[in-house]
Symmetry: C2
Subunit: 467 residues, 2 copies
Amino acid sequence: MSETELQADSMVPEPQLDEDDRLRPQFVDAVLDAVHDGDSARAHALAEPLHPADIADLVELAPSEDRAALVSAIADLIDGDVLAEMNDWVREALVESLTATQVADIAAELDTDDAVAIIEDMDVEDQREVLRALDPDDRAAIEEALSYPEESAGRLMQRELIAVPEHWSVGDVLDYLRKNEDLATDFWEIFVVDPSHKPVGTCALSWILRTPRVVSMGDVMKREQTLIPVDMDQEEVALRFQKYALISAAVIDPNGRLVGMITVDDIVHIISEEAGEDALLLSGAGEGDINEPVIDSYKGRVRWLLTNLLTALVAATIISLFEGTIQKMVALAALMPIVAGVGGNAGTQTMAVTVRALATNQLTQSNTLRAIQREISIALLNGVTVAIVIGTAVGLFYHHAALGGVIAAAMMTNIFIAGLAGVVVPVTLDRLKADPAVASSIFVTMTTDSMGFLAFLGLASASGLVG
Amino acid sequence: MSETELQADSMVPEPQLDEDDRLRPQFVDAVLDAVHDGDSARAHALAEPLHPADIADLVELAPSEDRAALVSAIADLIDGDVLAEMNDWVREALVESLTATQVADIAAELDTDDAVAIIEDMDVEDQREVLRALDPDDRAAIEEALSYPEESAGRLMQRELIAVPEHWSVGDVLDYLRKNEDLATDFWEIFVVDPSHKPVGTCALSWILRTPRVVSMGDVMKREQTLIPVDMDQEEVALRFQKYALISAAVIDPNGRLVGMITVDDIVHIISEEAGEDALLLSGAGEGDINEPVIDSYKGRVRWLLTNLLTALVAATIISLFEGTIQKMVALAALMPIVAGVGGNAGTQTMAVTVRALATNQLTQSNTLRAIQREISIALLNGVTVAIVIGTAVGLFYHHAALGGVIAAAMMTNIFIAGLAGVVVPVTLDRLKADPAVASSIFVTMTTDSMGFLAFLGLASASGLVG
């Protein structure tokens, strides 16, 4: 650990963390030991200084059989902020163990978006009970949020925001904010609305602070604003925040009226999730969360493995067409997986790049042809290089120049096909409005496997190499 | 397109965008047609209403041979904000075509972090020229930033921030902000420092707005703060912003003094990059940007393909040990890739989940053993399911129950080994301080290929199935 980090850690109030902000295993063990000993007071004392995000981590890191005891020992520390930070699966299990009144108490102290995140995964029955236990205002806000589709802006937004008319002066705004105690506390921009509550401008708080009291809001605000329709998918919301470097944004209903606000701190975990899920989707690991129940992970993954099994049968069928050839020269059996495997890898590389470029809106109709040309160039260079290496190695090892030539030609062919498939498959899926990360690798792998075996065994057979 | 989106688009000042905020291909073509016709005025008129992020996209979407002409037609629109939004590769090529004075003019109007992003990729020679053309203050700030390691907090931070002493009142702060014209304009929090310029607290602007003028800053600010050491890696900075839902954070030097500020809008693209790069790294596609020059992509990918070739040779060697067995029953050659391929897929699933959990700090020493047990359970369930399906299918198709039994047992074994390797390999690499995303798949694929062939051919041979 460098000196700077030591310095910083000593200034941060949590010595329980390692240099990567993770709870130290010794600390987690100390808390769990206290829980096992039935010493709730010690467990509580240890956990109390932690940041809500770290309390959430502590619960996640505890083995699932210990979580109930841990949570009951530190019950008063588990507030809405902690639940909002918690992994979905762990939170869901925890919320299930609480009574409706307890959940309602927690939901009441939260912004709408965080309250909704806790309630939306509950059974309809339990949900209704929690809603009944809430006061009418909170209840209406949460019911409205739940009426929007899952993963939409309507679920993400909070209703707590500051909206003022255009004719107010900066001084009016300051007085309004100072006098009204039950306004939102954490906000970064103020929205300016017309009499029908449609947003006409946005004003960063720093501009208000730097402007004399007499200036009117209409003169301080920025008229260009990025508005979020309430039914927009959260992935689109995240891309919009990223593209325009937003801190917060107004959410509008179909009539253009301001109904809520989304802030960037609610977006960062979506940006991270959406960007990170491609690696999981490409591998067929579904949601791929280590806290997901084993049986759900099994269901998600086995479906993919069985699909993969079907595509592997296609490749096996191709091989079986050449059984006579293999019989005559069994070395082909040992060499053929090389052609298929390296081709598969080349296809996966191109596919990963293409899927990422699609996800970040870098690859659009304007540059698709160029991207394909680019991948073909790279595939030709890769193909020639790998073909020379494997062709020479096989030729020398087997003292058989023709065999070297055949594997070189097959490898060249397969890497070329892999490059083409790696870009055409995801782009086509994207045009068909399917998620390219979900299905691409099945098609690409099937192509590179089948074409690898076909090219190698076909060339071996056709070239008169055998018999 | 839904009604809400139509509504929103008509309120956003850019009808040139499709529903995903991407520039419409027709619009890009119209601009390029104008450039081809030599009609700079038309191109300029089309591009002028665009947001800087969209001007950057326009340049990226233009074919590289048209970029020079496009950029010269809209030269006065290409300001620092546009360059800051531009893809690294495209920007680098563009900046190379500018004179040192032009670059210096652009850098002078930017915050330090954006200026550094433009200058850091230049040759040392060109860099020196640009620095000479800057005024002494800007020059000193940029030189200092460049003295920190690449991808560290020191490169990301801006020096423009608001820091005030603890004894100032809210009124003092308001007066200071209103009177001093050359202070930072975009900031979201104010840092409170002691006389040696060490941060003692942070104050969100919304709290200042809601507090009477007479209250002292020491009473408004929050004393718990998350400080960023200046040499911290940007990936750690991004995780810290995400974990603690930060909007901005103070950056401190090794003596604990405030030297800069990082804001969340500079972090969101890093969060997205770091989360998205795992899919690229796992596939061996390196940086994997569609704007990277072909020759660089080739170099990055071919290295991986050649490594993959070596590991494929290991698998080929194992197969060649069983050439006698295959000769006697050539159906084995057609079936063996199924065992290796589906095993490889199971390994990739587990690996993707593990790498993601490590990257998000969800998997630590505290729960490693539990994660391994979890993956073993899933592997057993997957293995049994796939083994039953393939065993039955092969047994029936070949009218050969023993062959079905052998492939079922081999499949079971390989999926089990795949699950184990998929979690143990990345965790081990992580413990050894290597990036698990970079090297895991080489080891995992080698294991599942080799073990797949060994298990299937070995069992076929040992069981007396053949001859």
